[in-house]
């Protein structure tokens, strides 16, 4: 197996999915953001976004915190250290593969 193919096969499947890649990239660039921001920037509907976030949370890449902004519920999201590491290694592998 040549290096390029090996690098492709090493890409993290959880992050590689286009929707989750967008979410992970957006969260990687910030400290934390809320659900509404991700919905606005990704143009996904609530159901799709929630499902991707659950998948990322299951993988231990995203931390989800339910809080309140005044009396309004707010869902805050941030990449965990494992999520940051996984995203960085995904970028490295992607670069090496292409």
């Amino acid at each position: 197996m040549n290096d390029s193919i090996r690098n492709i096969s090493e890409l993290d499947r959880v992050i590689h999915e286009p929707g989750r890649l967008m979410i992970a990239s957006l969260l990687f660039a910030v400290e934390q953001a809320d659900f509404l921001y991700l919905q606005h920037e990704t143009a996904m509907n609530k159901g799709t976004l929630s499902s991707h976030l659950s998948r990322l949370e299951e993988a231990g890449y995203v931390e989800i915190a339910k809080t309140f902004r005044g009396k309004i519920p707010q869902t805050l999201l941030r990449l965990t250290p494992a999520g940051r590491q996984a995203f960085e290694s995904y970028r490295r592998n992607l670069k090496a593969a292409l």
């Binding site: 990239s25 921001y37 920037e41």
Partner: protein
């Protein structure tokens, strides 16, 4: 677009989001006009007046920065976050180093031009501001290229005004001989500063108006 470029574009999205409501430009405009105002006050008042004291200048700058910071937070909290979402940015040392280096290079270039007796170092303001604005803001929003054109033409026109005309426009040109700046250079800088600040403010104001008319707070539902 390659996958890597796509990822890079996603990574840059949060930076662009800061000016989605025009507040980034409004902040810059208020800051530039704020500095312009105190410069004019120093020109228009006698040499030993209140406005020439260093502590007044420092207090003025501190108050201006505080008002801009609090004002931005207030507007973001009341308008932006409920409409298009909340973001907390990472505090990166690299960003601060780049800003400090940018300021130092600009100051050094200005000093070199002054030392060489360049008649219109004011043009440097335009040469620094226009590309920075184009890279930082206009890249992401197409109509902002119009602002780039206005800034480029305006700053160039002001920098090439005849020295006699610039000095005649300053209410008290006798101030400048007392200072270390040649009158035409100091006058050009003041007018350039005023023009750049006003352009930022107008451009940011238009962005804020468009943002308010195109967005509304979504109905709260289970997330």
């Amino acid at each position: 677009m390659t996958p890597q470029e796509q990822v890079q574009s996603y990574l840059e999205q949060p930076k662009r989001y800061f000016n989605i409501d025009g507040l980034g430009e409004i902040d810059l405009g208020v800051m530039v006009l704020g500095f312009n105002l105190i410069s004019w006050l120093q020109v228009l008042t006698p040499e030993h007046s209140f406005w020439h004291r260093i502590w007044v200048f420092l207090l003025y700058v501190a108050l201006m920065v505080m008002v801009i910071d609090r004002g931005t937070k207030f507007v973001k909290k009341r308008i932006t976050y409920p409409r298009t979402g909340f973001v907390e940015y990472r505090r990166e040392a690299r960003g601060r180093i780049v800003m400090i280096a940018f300021g130092a290079v600009t100051a050094a270039a200005f000093a070199v031009l002054m030392a060489l007796g360049h008649g219109n170092a004011a043009a440097l303001m335009g040469m620094v501001i226009v590309p920075s604005y184009a890279y930082g803001i206009a890249r992401a929003v197409q109509w902002k290229w119009l602002v780039v054109a206005v800034l480029a033409v305006g700053t160039l026109a002001l920098a090439t005004l005849p020295a006699s005309l610039v000095v005649s426009l300053v209410p008290d040109p006798t101030f400048f001989p007392k200072s270390r700046f040649p009158a035409d250079l100091a006058g050009s800088c003041l007018f350039e500063e005023m023009f750049i600040g006003a352009t930022f403010l107008v451009s940011g104001g238009i962005t804020l108006y468009r943002y308010l008319s195109q967005t509304q707070a979504p109905e709260q539902a289970a997330e």
